[in-house]
C-alpha cells in the first residue's frame, strides 16, 4: 500500500528531528495521536497537532501519560493507526500500559525523545538511559521492537518504518530517539507519496461466528478486526485463549506467552536493521546507536587515520538485540567499544553476546551532553593495544570524569 499524497509533505525541508517525526507520523497514515506535554518531545506533538487536519487525523492532549497511552491502545482497536509521544518521566508512567499493549498484541508506536534521567533529570538535554527500560520496563515477559534513529531524516523515515513493523508484528514499536536528534536541525527530504510503502492493518474478513482474535494465522501473528464491525471482540489483559477469554492454567499460559515472545524472536532476521562498515577484518568494532553513532564517527575516522583497523556497527534496531551478529563478530575481532549516554546498558548486551571472546569497553556518559569524540578515540586506542582478555566489562574513564574525580577541575557554581 502506498502513502496517501494528502498525508505527505513532499519536498526538501530544513527542520529539526521532532518536526520530522511529526511529518513522518502523518505520512505513515496515523490517524490518532494522544499525548501529554513533556520536554523535549513537545515539538513532535505540536507538529502533528498542526498538520493532523490535513490527513483527517486527530490529536488529543490527554490529562496525563497514563491516559495518553491507554487512549492510543483503544484507538488502535477502533481500527486506526495510533501513537503517543513522550520522554523521561512520561515514559515511565506509560510502562504498565506498554505491557498491556504487548499482551493484547496491539499495533501502536511510541516516540521517546530521551532526556537526561533519572527522575526529572535534565529535561532539556539529552540522554540514552531508557534503553533497558524500553525492553524490560513493564512487568512480565513480553517482546517489543525498538529503533534508534540518529538524524532528523531518519526520524522521518523510521517513524514510517515503525508503523509498518507495528502492523506486521502486532506489537508496540518504540522509536528511541533522544533530545539531541530531536532538536537537531538538518536537511530532511520527504519523497513523493508513491515512494512511501505502508503496511496496512491485517484484517480478518471471514464470518463473525468463526473469528478468534488470538488465533495465529499461518505465521505467529493473528489477524485483527475493527471494533464496531460486528465481531463481538473480547480483549483482556489477562492471559487469554484464542477467543480472548481469560485463562489461568499453566498450559495455556505457556502456549500464549511462548507465541507472544516467539513472534518477535523467530522473526528477528526480518526485523533487525544494522548499518555496518569494515567489520570483517576489524580489530576493534564500535557499536553505537542514536546520537552516539554520529559522535562516534569522528573517533572512528581518527583511529583509522592512525592505522587502527576499525569497524563500525550501528544498531538501527536495538530491540530485538542482534545477538547473532555480535556473537559472529566476537569470533574475529579483538574488542568492542560501546559509547552510550548512560552508565552501561547496551554495552552489557554486547558483553553478554561476546562470551568472553572479545573485550568490551564501555564509554559512558552521564547525559546532559554528548561524548567528546576524543574519548571514543582514546577508548578505541586502548582496546586496540590491550593484549590480554579482560573479564567482564571495561568502563573507560572519560576526560571529563578524570577531571572531575581526579582533581584539577572545579565545578562552576
Amino acid at each position: 500500500m502506498k502513502a496517501n499524497p494528502r498525508d505527505v509533505l513532499t519536498g526538501v525541508h530544513y527542520i529539526d528531528g521532532d518536526v520530522a517525526a511529526g511529518y513522518g507520523v502523518l505520512a505513515a497514515g496515523c490517524k490518532f495521536v494522544a499525548g501529554y506535554p513533556i520536554t523535549p518531545s513537545t515539538e513532535a506533538a505540536e507538529t502533528f497537532a498542526r498538520v493532523a487536519p490535513k490527513g483527517n487525523a486527530m490529536f488529543i492532549q490527554m490529562e496525563d501519560e497514563l491516559a495518553s497511552i491507554s487512549a492510543v491502545i483503544g484507538a488502535s482497536f477502533a481500527g486506526v493507526k495510533s501513537m503517543t509521544i513522550t520522554s523521561g518521566p512520561g515514559y515511565t508512567l506509560m510502562m504498565e500500559a506498554i505491557g498491556f499493549g504487548a499482551m493484547l498484541e496491539t499495533p501502536f508506536v511510541l516516540l521517546n525523545i530521551q532526556r537526561g534521567g533519572p527522575s526529572t533529570g535534565v529535561p532539556t538535554k539529552t540522554g540514552q538511559a531508557d534503553m533497558m527500560q524500553s525492553r524490560w520496563g513493564s512487568h512480565g515477559d513480553y517482546e517489543i521492537i525498538a529503533i534508534s534513529p540518529d538524524s532528523p531524516q531518519e526520524l522521518f523515515d523510521y517513524t514510517i518504518k515503525a508503523f509498518n513493523l507495528a502492523e506486521m508484528y502486532r506489537c508496540p514499536v518504540m522509536i528511541m530517539s533522544d533530545e539531541c536528534v530531536g532538536h537537531m536541525t538538518e536537511k530532511v527530504v520527504i519523497p513523493p507519496a508513491e515512494e512511501i510503502e505502508l503496511e496496512p492493518r491485517r484484517l480478518y474478513n471471514g464470518p463473525p461466528g468463526e473469528y478468534l482474535p488470538f488465533k495465529p494465522d499461518g505465521d505467529f501473528i493473528p489477524k485483527m478486526v475493527k471494533a464496531g464491525a460486528g465481531y463481538n471482540l473480547y480483549i483482556s489483559g489477562h492471559v487469554h485463549d484464542e477467543r480472548g477469554y481469560p485463562v489461568t492454567n499453566e498450559e495455556f499460559k505457556s502456549v500464549y506467552l511462548r507465541r507472544l515472545v516467539d513472534k518477535i524472536r523467530r522473526n528477528k532476521d526480518k526485523i533487525i536493521e544494522l548499518k555496518e562498515e569494515n567489520t570483517d577484518d576489524a580489530e576493534v568494532i564500535v557499536v553505537s546507536y542514536g546520537i552516539s553513532s554520529r559522535v562516534a564517527v569522528r573517533g572512528i575516522e581518527k583511529a583509522r587515520e592512525k592505522g587502527i583497523k576499525i569497524g563500525n556497527l550501528r544498531l538501527v534496531t536495538v530491540w530485538p538485540f542482534p545477538d547473532e551478529k555480535i556473537i559472529d563478530l566476537a569470533k574475529t575481532t579483538k574488542a568492542f567499544v560501546v559509547p552510550e549516554i548512560n552508565y552501561g546498558q547496551i554495552a552489557f548486551e554486547v558483553e553478554r553476546c561476546c562470551h568472553g571472546r572479545a573485550n568490551v569497553v564501555l564509554v559512558p556518559h552521564s547525559g546532559a551532553g554528548v561524548h567528546n569524540p576524543d574519548d571514543i578515540y582514546d577508548a578505541i586506542v586502548f582496546a586496540a593495544k590491550e593484549k590480554k582478555k579482560i573479564e567482564g566489562i571495561v568502563e573507560y574513564k572519560t576526560k571529563l570524569e578524570k577531571l572531575v574525580f581526579e582533581g584539577g577541575f572545579k565545578l562552576k557554581e
Binding site: 486527530m58 488529543i60 490529562e63 491507554s70 483503544g74 482497536f77 477502533a78 471494533a227
Partner: protein
Amino acid sequence: METLKTKKMKEVHPMEDVLRMNRIPHIWCPGCGIGLAVTAFAAALEKAKIDLNKVAIVSGIGCTGRVAGYIKLDSFHTTHGRAIAFATGIKVANPDLKVVVFSGDGDLISIGGNHFIHAARRNIDMLVVCVNNFIYAMTGGQVAPTTPLAAYATTCPFGSVEPPINIPYLADSSGAVYVARWTTLHIRRLTNSFIEALDKKGFSVVEVISPCPQYYSRINRLGDGLDMMKFYHDNTEIRHGEDTKNLDIGFQGKIIMGKFIDRERPSYTERFD
C-alpha cells in the same frame, strides 16, 4: 398403545442475545449486586433502539471490571483505572461507536479519578456505569474512597477516618450531562436510566449502589445480600433533580436516589466537527 412423546425443549437464556453464555457461570459471589446491574444493563440494551454492533463496552479491573467480559458486544477488559481513557481513544478514533464504561468505584473514582474528571470536562460521548459497593472487593475488602466514614474495612480495622467521595457531585461539577443513582433493588428504574443515558449525547454517569455481602457487609456485620436489599428498601428515597451536593452517603445512612442531572452540552466529537 401410543406412548406420550415429550418434546425436549432447548433451554435458552432470555438474555442470550446480549450475554456471552459460554462465559457463564460468572465469578461474582452469592448476594453480590453486580449481576443485578448487568441484568438491568442487558435489559436496557435490548430495549434501547441502538445497533448493538456499534456499541463497545470497556471495563477496568476489579469485580465490576469483569462485566465487559460477560456482555456480547465489543468488550475490552483494560488496565486498572484506565477504562475511561481507553474508551476515549475508541470514541475519538471512531465517533460512530457508542461507548459504555462499566466499572467499579475504586477503578473509576480512585485510581481512575483523573480520567473521570477530564472525560466529563471534555464531554466525551460515553455512558459510565459506576457500581459502588463501598469497598475494594476483588482484593479482599480494603478501604475505598467511597467507604462511608467510620465503616470498617480490612485496611482500616478501626473504622474509616476519611470522608467518602460523592460521585454524582463529582460528575456534576466536572460537566457530566446526565447523572443518576439507583440501588440494585431498584432494577426497573435503573434499567430506564440506562436506556435514557444510552440515548444521551455526552458524558453520562449512572451510579449503582450495590451490596457486597462477602467483604463490606461481613466486616461491618450488616448481614447477607437479602439484608442489604431490605436496608435499601427501608432507607432509600427518590428525589429527582436533587442538588448533587446533598448526596453524601453516611454509614448505614439514608441513600438519596434519582435522576439529578439531565442537560445538553456539545460533546467532544461534535465540537471537533
